[in-house]
Symmetry: C2
Subunit: 444 residues, 2 copies
Amino acid sequence: MSIGGELQATLDASRKSWIGTANDPACDFPIQNLPFGVFSDRNNHAPRAGVAIGDRIVDLGALESAGLLTVAYPATHVAQKNDASVFARDSLNAFIALGRDAWRSVRVQLSALLERDNGRLRDDETLKSRALVSMSDATLHLPVEIPGYTDFYSSKEHATNVGSMFRDPANALLPNWLEIPIGYNGRASSVVVSGTPVRRPNGQLKLPDTPRPVFGACRKLDIELETGFIVGRGNALGEPIACADAEDHIFGMVLLNDWSARDIQQWEYVPLGPFNSKTFATTISPWIVTLDALEPFRVAQPVQAPAPLDYLRHRPDGKHGFDIALEVRMRARDARHATTIARTNFRHMYWTMAQQLAHHTVSGCNTRVGDLMGSGTISGPTADSFGSLLELTWNGKKPIELDEGGTRTFIDDGDELTLAGWCQGDGYRVGFGTCVGEVLPAKK
Amino acid sequence: MSIGGELQATLDASRKSWIGTANDPACDFPIQNLPFGVFSDRNNHAPRAGVAIGDRIVDLGALESAGLLTVAYPATHVAQKNDASVFARDSLNAFIALGRDAWRSVRVQLSALLERDNGRLRDDETLKSRALVSMSDATLHLPVEIPGYTDFYSSKEHATNVGSMFRDPANALLPNWLEIPIGYNGRASSVVVSGTPVRRPNGQLKLPDTPRPVFGACRKLDIELETGFIVGRGNALGEPIACADAEDHIFGMVLLNDWSARDIQQWEYVPLGPFNSKTFATTISPWIVTLDALEPFRVAQPVQAPAPLDYLRHRPDGKHGFDIALEVRMRARDARHATTIARTNFRHMYWTMAQQLAHHTVSGCNTRVGDLMGSGTISGPTADSFGSLLELTWNGKKPIELDEGGTRTFIDDGDELTLAGWCQGDGYRVGFGTCVGEVLPAKK
C-alpha cells in the first residue's frame, strides 16, 4: 500500500477509535483529525509534542521510546551528537522541519494505533498510562516557535465593510485589493497561545474634540476572527514559491484572534500601517490541524474577477478553499454562558492560502518553518457573519445584545472572547478546538 | 576603581593600542570602539564572536580559553550541561543576553589587553596567532539572530520630502507624525549582512497608462540610508519600557540599508503599509558599535514642538542624539571608484532611539534580545543630504551624475551601494565600517 493509500485510509469517515470520546459526533478531535500541539502535565512539566484524540493527548515521544512510533528522517537528515527526539522539544519546529513525508508517516502510524480494532496500545495499560494524558490535566503551550508573523487582508466582505465605514461606500475596495492579496508584517513576539489573558493596551487616542491626541487605555478594543497557517517548508531568499507548489509548503492551520485597538489604529496607521494597535497580543489555538486532515473539506474558492495575474493563478479545476465553520463567542465576566455573536465560514475567503504564500515570496522574500500567516478577518456576506465587533456593531453604532443581558459595542474588561471552528463531516467533525482570551484592565 | 571609572578610561581619546593600524586617525576601529561581530576564517570555519580592532579581529573565545578574558555571568545565570562558551556561537545573542554588566566587563578587559603598554597578549606570539585574525582573511556573518525587525520613520526631513512628493507640499507631514515615532513591523527573515548581493525584486507595478498592474522587475529600486539598534535587554509582554530606561535596553548600533522597490511600494502600500517592496532584503553592517563606545558623541536631539506626550518625554537636559556622520556611495559595475552621492548625519533625527523603544512597547508589546529597530531613512536639510534616491533625484526628475560618467535616477543592475558612518573624535574616529550590497538582475 502506498503512503497515498494509507493516507486516504486515515480520512475514512467511518473510521473509529478505541478512545470512545473521539467517536462523539460533536468532538473536535476524532481519529480523522490528529492535530499536533505542545503540552505539559502535572507529572511531567517539560513541554513536548502531542496529538489530540478525543479528550486525550498522545505523548509522541513516549510512543517513540516504546517503539510504537518511528520517525521517518529524510535522507538528508544528519543526526547531531546528543540529538534529542524531535518530540522532546518545546516546539514542533524540529518535527515540522523533517518534511511532509515525516508528518504523513506519523499520521498514518497514529491512525492505525488508535483505530478501534488495533490492540497494540489499547491493551497495554502500562504504556497507555505513560503515553496518553488527559486533556484536563494538561497545559497547552504555543505549538511552534514563530520566526515571522504575517497578516493578510483577504476577505472581500471585510475589506468592503471597512472601506464603506471609513472611506466611500460607493468605492469601498481600494484599487489594489482585487489584484493583490494585501498583507503586512505583524509582530511575532506577542503571539500567545489560547488561554493567555490579554491586557487592554494603552496608547495614543485622537478624540474628535481635542486638537492633540491623549494618552490612555484603548476604548475600542476588538477581535478579528481569523485562521492562520503554519509554514512547513520554507524557501530561500530570492527563490519564490509558485502558486501551484504553495500548498506543499503549508503544515497546517490554527484559529487566530488578531486583537485590535481600533482607536489607536485609526490614529497611527497612516501611512505605514497598523503597529501598536495590533502588537500587544495575537492569540492562536493550540492544535495545528494539518492540511492532510482538511483534505475532505476542500471547496472551490470564490470566482476571482478580474482573473489574477499569472503568478497568482490557480488551475481552473482546483479547489483551494476549505469549508470551515467559524464562530465568535463573548462571555461577560459574571455570565454563566457565552453568547455566540457571529457565525461565518472560511470558504468565503477571496484569496487562497496558496495565493497568499505565492504573493509573499514573489519578491524573493524567504519564509521559514514555523512562520505564521494570518488570513485576515473572515467576514461573511450577512450582518451576523462579520468577523469583528467593528463590523458587527458598525463602529459602535449598532450595539449587540448578550444573551444574559447587557450590550456591547466593543470589548469590556473581564469579557472572554472565544473563537471556534470545525469542518463538518458525515457523523463527525474535524475541529480546531477553541481560541480563547479574557481581557484584563489596562495597566495603570 | 569602579566599573564606571574603568569604563570611562576605555573612552579616553589619547588611548592607543599596540595594534598599529588601530591608531590610524582614519581607522574605523580604534581602541575606543571595540565593536562586536561574528566571523569565521579559513583556518576555522565555525562562526564565532569577535571584536574589531584596527585591521584585526579579536577571537573572544580564544582569549577566554587562554584565561585572558573572563565572562561576568549574572547571579541569575544557570549554567546548562554541555554549555558552550557564549562566544562559541554563530550569533551574539547568548552573550548579549548576559546583560550590560557582562558587555561592559568584556569591553574593559579588552581595552586593557589591547592598550599599548600591556604586554600580556602583545608579547605572546603563540596566543596572538590564535586570538587575532586578519580581517582580510575573515568572513563576517550576521552578528545576531533577529527575532523581530521594526522600522521607524523618524527623520522629519525625510517624512517631509516624501509627503511633499506624493501628497501636498503645503501639508507634507501627516497629522500624527509630530506626535508618534511612526514605525511598522518589517520582515526579519530577509535581513542580511553587508556584502550579500541583493536580487532586484519582481512584483506588481501599476503603470500610469494601463488600467491593470503588470508583473515585472522593479524599475525604481532604491536604498534607504538608516541606522539600526539592537535590543540588548527585552521586556515582558504587558510591561512597557519607560523612555528614561530605554537606553539601558539597547546593546548597540549598526548601519542599515532598507532596500526599497518604490514602484511596488506605491501600488501596494494602501492601507496596511509596505510589504513586498521591502521584504526582499535589508542589509546591516557586521559590527555592532555599543552605546558605551558612542557615549562621547552624544548631542542634544532636535527641539520637539509640540512637546511629546509624557510617555515620550526626555528630561530637558538630556542628550539623546548622536553625532554620526553618514555617507552613501554608488559604484557602477565597471567603475573603478564609487561616487559619494549623499552626506548627512544621524544628529538630524527628530525622534530618539529611546522614544522609539518607549513607543514600541507602550501598548505592552514585548521585545527580545537581538531585535533590530531601524531608524527610518536619515535625511538632512539640504538636497545633497537626503538618504534615498527617491529624494536625491526627486522621484527620478533630477538624475544624479556619477564621477566616472553616467547618471542615475534609481539603481541599475550591477550597481554597488555602500553606506558608511563614523563618529569623529579628536584624532580618531569611532566607525561603523561599511554596509555594502551589489544589485543583481531580477530572476527571470
